[in-house]
Amino acid sequence: MLTLLLASAAGNMAYAEDASEAHPITAPWAEDPYPSTYKPETVAPVAITNATILTAAGPAIGSGTLLIENNKIRAVGANIEVPDGWQVIDASGQWVTPGIIDAHSHAGTAAVPGVEDGLNEMTGPNTAEMFAEFSLWPQSPVYPRLRNAGVTTIQVLPGSANIFGGRTAILKMVPSTTIQGMKFPGAKYGLKMVCGENPTRVYGAQNRAPMGRSGLMAMMRKYFADAAKYVEDWTGYADKLADENIDSDAAAPARDFQLDSIAGGITGDVRINTHCYRAEDMTNVLITAKEYNVKVSSFHHAIEAYKIMGTLKETDTCIAGWGPDWGGFKMEAYDFSSLSIPMLSEAGVCVAVTSDSDETGQHLNIDAARSLAAGQRAGLDVNEEDAIRWITYYPAKILGLEKETGTLEVGKMADVVIWSANPFSSYAHPEKVFIDGVEVFDRSDASAAPLSDYEITPSDKGDTQ
């Protein structure tokens, strides 16, 4: 809504009509201060043939072909000719899917190597100015394990103690010595927000606000109002620059890194990911956000999402949930249901199965299979073509990247997994994994699955699975 006046990350538009005289200022909330340095290498084109292909964008293709060229998908379908001179991978009896995307991960921080890094910055209920990427460790042994398990993109979120937790990091699972070398090029930042029991438990115990849900929502509303004012101030400043001229002496509003992150939720430059369990909590957040035009892109964990499917549809809010049996570990998670994911799916809500765990993140296909089975047992109209979207297309949509990745469609990034069998079988495992068309894992070639630096040892005992 402000893109005409202030440059947004998406358009980088100038405020003046004549570009040569333009002095575009980038809106502070749209800045990407630490851009990705990842560029996929150039590789020879490759064709995967005779595979059962789940594209996540339509019906399954039996005995299909997938063509990868210039890091992108060039063609996918049943009757596709392989151009002369291409490398051909015969995937007879095997299955092909988009790379798995985990919209809720903490991989690369905290647990390894037994050192808490403080990604859960429990020093105040608003740390919206924090960027998760500075707590991440590129040599984490979790990254190669995720890659070898067919995971091609993850969103790493700050912890859940704070109402405003900080910016998320969206990473491609490519090997790199820097986090910038893994960041998804051009991805908008996410902001982690939290409602419910975690902030009230952490800060209530310190006799600080928020001690209860009412205090929490009051604080959330205050920062939403501040962010709305911040957007107004910066918009007014840009207006003034546009009305006057190059030499305008209008003073820029004070920069506030916390409000940058929240304001982005109003302008659409930052995607808000809210950790929230209960139906009334999610509803309360939505009505509070609406007052200041804050867009909540997704609720995470969202144990009771199945109780408010109509609201989620109306507000176009995605759910980053869990497989069938995560829950019961605290009061707000008591009403977990194995039917939540398939019910949301049948209702047409954007719904992802996510991990929140370094280990579970390696088998989201199994968690999705278990949710699918629960739904089918209850007579819901869900199938494998739906279930693959829970771990590819919908998580891409939660990250705002569904046009770049998450399905096997022509022109998209070639993030692809070849599975030994139907990926919803316990016995399926990745045979090959491609990120941007580059083969990053090959089960038949151990050297293609390198250990992280951390695991290099003279004893040579390590395993990457």
Binding site: G328, K330, S337, M343, E359, I366, A378, D463
Partner: protein
């Protein structure tokens, strides 16, 4: 598949219409029986049982005229899974101290913290576990995870249970005293592995002298170790080999140290976790020590468990070690589910064979839990803890069609399914769903 659906329908119908427990004899016919015992695998088999024991098992059996007959349509019938190492039934809501009995922060109750008194048969998670084909468990206490001002190394005493409704769950009390050793253990006693080992051996010594002395006086040394009379009595069971010590330990050197100490002290060990166990598998096998493996963990947690891998179970079993499976790592305290589909994933992905996976999940699990005389395999005279599957028991999408515990059919519709169905109806009425 056409055979599966009527089976499920029959199952749901029976849940809806028939009270769960009726004293009766049941016969399952036309079954692909994996007995996990001396009778091996039986095609087209029949198994007859009542609410006391398995009466007969085999082919061409005489079925009592009053028996309720269930046609398994050739599906797999096998003993229920035994989950070794879980807080199922004792940690209702782990974030809330008052509702969580999986551990205590009271420094005067350590080895004597007996989870038999914490069991809540009404915990909805128990039905979730049954819906995954689990019928028994070794329920283990956790060492307090909060800030420990008082050094301690024993979490308490375990109990082995059947996940039965309407009857006593306990199959065996004093099923193992849990001790946390290695890096975590050292941190709980003020730092340094040698410190914990010295304290542990002192504790055993105190337990022996306390129970042998007629006066049963608590020595100053025992008091300084934070051990109460009940703790010493509990530890004496370990010292007298009446109960194993379940040691939570991961590092290879720490494992070898515990094996040496167990030998010197003459006590029985079970290793809990043992993430680096495979690197010393031959020594573990030679000492005849079972291992409870986490089937999911494969990320090196710190420098003392650097060689953590999903191959752990396969390599231990190949060396001749008896292995059981615990609730998975992803959420050790609250992610309470059967390890079944995660174990299934290890088959093919690692060197774990299908047969060894099922053995670990049934009879070896029961042996580690100390209840193999009662359950863990289908044998005449044993309890009828039986699952009829609607497909391959290790497949992610399979589900039990029937679960029997001690011959009684169990409800396997979870609280979450009931809630889901309630909101399904509302969504259909509101037009959100067709």
């Amino acid at each position: 598949m056409s055979l599966v659906k009527p089976l499920i329908a029959a199952c749901l119908a029976s849940i809806a219409l028939v009270p769960v427990s009726i004293a009766e004899t049941t016969a399952i016919t036309n079954a692909h029986i994996l007995t996990m015992g001396p009778d091996g695998e039986i095609q087209n088999g029949t198994i007859v049982f009542d609410q006391d024991k398995i009466i007969s098992i085999g082919t061409r059996l005489r079925i009592p005229s009053d028996a309720k007959v269930i046609d398994a349509h050739g599906q797999v019938v096998m003993p229920g899974f035994i989950m070794t190492g879980t807080s199922l039934g004792i940690s209702n809501l782990p974030s809330y101290g008052s509702l969580d009995d999986s551990s205590t922060n009271n420094p005067y109750v350590t080895a004597a913290y007996d989870v038999r008194y914490a069991l809540n048969p009404d915990d909805p998670q128990i039905v979730v576990a049954k819906s995954e084909g689990v019928t028994g468990a070794l329920v283990t206490p956790d060492l307090w995870t909060g800030s420990a001002a008082d050094p301690r190394m024993f979490a308490g005493t375990s109990t082995s249970v059947a996940l039965a409704e309407d009857e006593d769950m306990i199959l065996r009390t004093s099923a193992g005293i849990v001790m946390v050793a290695g890096t975590s253990g050292a941190s709980k006693v003020g730092g340094g592995r040698p410190s914990e080992i010295a304290l542990f051996r002192s504790a055993l010594k105190e337990a022996r002298s306390y129970t042998k002395s007629r006066k049963r006086e608590l020595s100053r040394s025992a008091t300084s170790l934070g051990l109460s009379p009940l703790d010493l009595e509990a530890l004496a069971r370990v010292a007298d080999r009446k109960e194993p010590l379940l040691v939570d330990v991961h590092n290879a050197t720490d494992i070898l140290n515990m094996i040496d100490i167990a030998k010197a002290e003459g006590i029985d060990l079970v290793l809990l976790g043992a993430n680096e166990g495979w690197t010393v598998a031959d020594q573990i096998a030679a000492a005849n020590i079972p291992v409870i493996v986490d089937p999911e963990v494969n990320v090196p947690g710190d420098l003392s468990s650097k060689y953590t891998t999903n191959e752990n179970a396969a390599r231990l079993i190949a060396a001749g070690v008896k292995v059981g499976f615990k609730a998975v790592h992803g959420r050790p305290f609250w992610y309470i589910r059967s390890p079944r589909s995660v174990v299934g994933r290890l088959v093919g992905y690692t060197d774990l064979s299908y047969g060894d996976a099922l053995i670990a999940l049934t009879i070896h699990g029961a042996e580690i839990a100390g209840i193999a005389d009662q359950t863990g395999s289908l044998e005449e005279g044993k309890r009828a803890d039986i699952v009829i599957w609607d497909g391959d028991p290790l497949e992610a999408m399979s589900h039990p069609a029937y679960v029997f515990i001690n011959g009684r059919e169990q409800n396997i519709t979870t609280r979450g399914e009931l809630l889901g169905k309630r909101y399904l109806e509302i969504a259909r009425k509101d037009g959100v769903l067709r």
